[in-house]
């Protein structure tokens, strides 16, 4: 094609007109049949998970991960409810915040409830965090999960000792300099509460907040290393720089275990101050559909797509971290996992660990404790 100055001008003008018309065309024709935007924890944004869906639907699928659950919700609150179609967060946020604030919309129960038959206990149809408080609306589907407490090098501290001692391991003055803190701030705060003998998920008295502060200051003072990078933390654990670290579990230990460092193990304390005398916390992600006024019709298809056994395995072993998925009760899903993969996600102790944990919930004193936590970190 001959490309002269006149044709250049013509094409530029056409492109400009399209550019101007673009935003209006979007609202006028709601042409989002071929695009999907996912806000999620890392893993769902990997090509292993998304590429087959892209091929199947010929859609443009974009996914972005955040640094914390509130970080992602605040994106929706700040107006990005018009941008995202699917949101994937830990269990408490859908029912306790996004649903009351109208940020997500319910799923068609007849389409999704049959999938609960394939879920591991306690994530069946009766799992309350998937539903609205009145139990009438289905708010999301569960998939990845894992106990998340602390991690030890079993060559230095045995699993039995760690489980019996629980978070007191970090309270012992003689252990100063032997541990690291993986700075997932909100989780650290929960674990510091447990270390102070408190249930993090209830409202706390001033004396209890003071007890939390004492633990936060002592733990930061005794920590040899702080990092928000699980690879750096595992490396320090494997190389003997530290013997254990807090805020960790299957999610953080599994990459090291799959690489052969099976002495790195996520630990769930046998007892503690949580409801029912439990000593640990388990997270499970719930994937919901954003209440986007111009939402993509592919959102529900994507939620259904991730229930496929092949995709379940891809989600469990997406790049970065490896985690069990609730669909593993389905033999067709379970058979996708090799023995090394099952060992990496600590399948042998998973059921026992789950029985010693409570669900991750929202901490009503998070704002106060976050300020204390950051001051303790800074002043250590």
């Amino acid at each position: 094609m001959q490309f002269d100055r006149r044709s250049l001008l013509r094409y530029t003008a056409a492109a400009g007109a399209l550019g101007l018309a673009g935003p209006m065309a979007g609202t006028a024709f709601a042409a989002r049949e071929k695009e999907l935007n996912i806000l999620c924890w890392e893993g769902y944004n990997s090509d292993e998970v998304l590429d087959p869906f892209r091929r199947k639907t010929s859609a443009s699928v974009k996914a972005e991960s955040g640094t914390s659950d509130p970080d992602m919700i605040n994106k929706l609150r700040a107006g990005e409810v018009n941008v995202w179609d699917v949101i994937n967060l830990n269990q408490p946020w859908a029912r306790d915040q996004m649903w009351p604030e109208g940020l997500i919309k319910p799923l068609p129960q007849e389409r999704f409830e049959p999938y609960f038959a394939n879920m591991m206990a306690p994530y069946g149809k009766e799992y309350p965090w998937c539903y609205s408080p009145d139990g009438k609306e289905l708010l999301g589907m569960v998939q990845r999960f894992g106990p998340f407490n602390f991690v030890v090098n079993t060559d230095k501290v045995s699993r039995a000792t760690a489980e019996d001692e629980g978070f007191n391991l970090f309270n012992e003055a003689s252990n100063a300099g032997r541990y690291g803190i993986l700075t997932y701030d909100n989780w650290n705060i929960y674990h510091m509460c447990i270390g102070a003998g408190l249930d993090p998920f209830v409202k706390h008295s001033e004396a209890e907040i003071a007890a939390f502060e004492k633990v936060a200051r002592a733990w930061f003072k005794g920590a040899k290393l702080l990092t928000d990078d699980l690879v750096a933390m595992n490396l320090a654990l494997i190389n003997g720089e530290i013997d254990f670290y807090l805020t960790g579990g299957t999610y953080t230990a599994s990459p090291a275990r799959l690489d052969g460092a099976t002495n790195i193990r996520g630990i769930t304390p046998k007892k503690g101050p949580l409801a029912g005398g439990k000593g640990g916390i388990t997270w499970v992600e719930i994937t919901s559909v954003v209440n986007n006024p111009n939402g993509s019709p592919l959102a529900l298809d994507f939620l259904e797509y991730v229930q496929d056994p092949e995709v379940c395995h891809a989600v469990a072993f997406a790049e970065g971290t490896y985690n069990p998925v609730t669909q593993m009760a389905n033999p067709q899903v379970f058979e996708k996992f090799s023995s090394e993969e099952l060992d990496a996600i600590q399948w042998d102790s998973l059921e026992e660990e789950l029985s010693n944990t409570v669900d991750y919930q929202i901490n009503p004193d998070y704002d106060v404790m976050d300020k204390i936590y950051n001051a303790a970190k800074r002043e250590a």
């Binding site: 509130p70 605040n74 690291g180 040899k224 702080l226 320090a236 190389n239 704002d367 976050d370 970190k377």
Partner: protein
């Protein structure tokens, strides 16, 4: 043509001339307009947003609230001064160390190495193509217990040492390593401005090596040294990765506090107030120091020598 006509013509031409002059200005302005618009949108607008957020109440996500100073009060009444002071201290130590390390290298590159200087420049520039985090992670693998250095020492000499990781020296090492080129290259430029004739004249007049360094080379190279020092200082002050990757956050840098406020803290106004204070501090420092330095001289536009 009579004188009267000439005057009248000049007078008649005046408005046109004025219009002409204003037209002569406007093409430049017009040409600069896209850049100005781009800068206003991409540079000034985000800064203004940060400035605006710093006056919003804690934990809010839009500008619809009445302005408040509570974030600034929180910064000044809390212990954030520790992070400011430690970041400042680390930045100063980095600048001083880099001055000492870079002077001989820069002197060599400007005066002694000849064409080898180009090779050295390449050797220093090429690692910049690799992400800073990856280079720092490489240092971590080198320094960690059982890593390249300590593991090697143990295997070859049976020596079991402790690593310097997760403490202040490791952070300083990271800062010095990462920001070396930012001090070095302006310093090379500064030293190359010292003409050989001047130093030779000083030597001829009986000056010692020390005197030549102190009274000739250092003052003449000052603009380059200042620019390099300033760049390094500002970058170190806002650094994050060195403390996180090598230092195990033994020091919580001010950039880390800002990141925490925006992410885990979900307190954009507090993060904005911290940012504004850091920007004001760095900005004041840059403007003050730059007012001492004649940029035209450095860039060789000369005129006053």
């Amino acid at each position: 043509m009579t004188a009267t006509t000439e005057v009248r013509t000049t007078e008649a031409a005046k408005p046109r001339l004025r219009r002409g002059r204003s037209l002569r200005v406007s093409p430049g302005l017009l040409a600069a307009l896209p850049v100005l618009i781009f800068l206003a949108l991409a540079f000034a607008a985000p800064l203004l947003a940060v400035f605006g957020y710093s006056f919003m109440p804690e934990g809010t996500f839009d500008f619809t609230f009445p302005p408040t100073f509570e974030n600034y009060l929180a910064v000044f009444s809390g212990s954030y001064y520790i992070s400011f002071a430690k970041s400042l201290g680390l930045a100063l130590v980095t600048v001083v160390l880099l001055m000492v390390i870079c002077w001989p290298i820069a002197y060599g590159m400007a005066k002694l190495f000849g064409r080898w200087a180009n090779l050295m420049t390449l050797a220093i520039i090429i690692p910049l193509f690799v992400s800073e985090n990856i280079r720092l992670f490489g240092w971590m693998l080198f320094l960690i217990k059982g890593g390249v250095f300590l593991g090697g020492l143990k295997a070859w000499l049976g020596f079991d040492g402790e690593s310097i990781l997760y403490d202040v020296p490791a952070i300083v090492l990271g800062l010095v390593y990462v920001y070396l080129p930012f001090t070095l290259f302006p310093m090379v430029l500064g030293i190359s401005m010292v003409s050989r004739e001047v130093t030779e004249a000083a030597f001829d007049m009986g000056a010692s090596r020390w005197q030549v360094f102190r009274e000739i080379e250092l003052p003449l190279a000052t603009p380059g040294i200042l620019i390099g020092g300033l760049l390094t200082f500002i970058l170190s002050l806002g650094s994050l990765a060195e403390s996180k990757i090598l230092g195990g956050q033994a020091v919580i840098m001010i950039a880390d506090e800002i990141e925490t406020a925006f992410t885990f803290g979900q307190n954009w106004p507090l993060g904005s107030a911290l940012s504004v204070i850091l920007i004001l501090f760095s900005g004041t420092l840059v403007l003050t120091l730059l007012s001492w330095v004649d940029l035209d001289r450095i860039l060789g536009r000369g005129g006053n020598d």
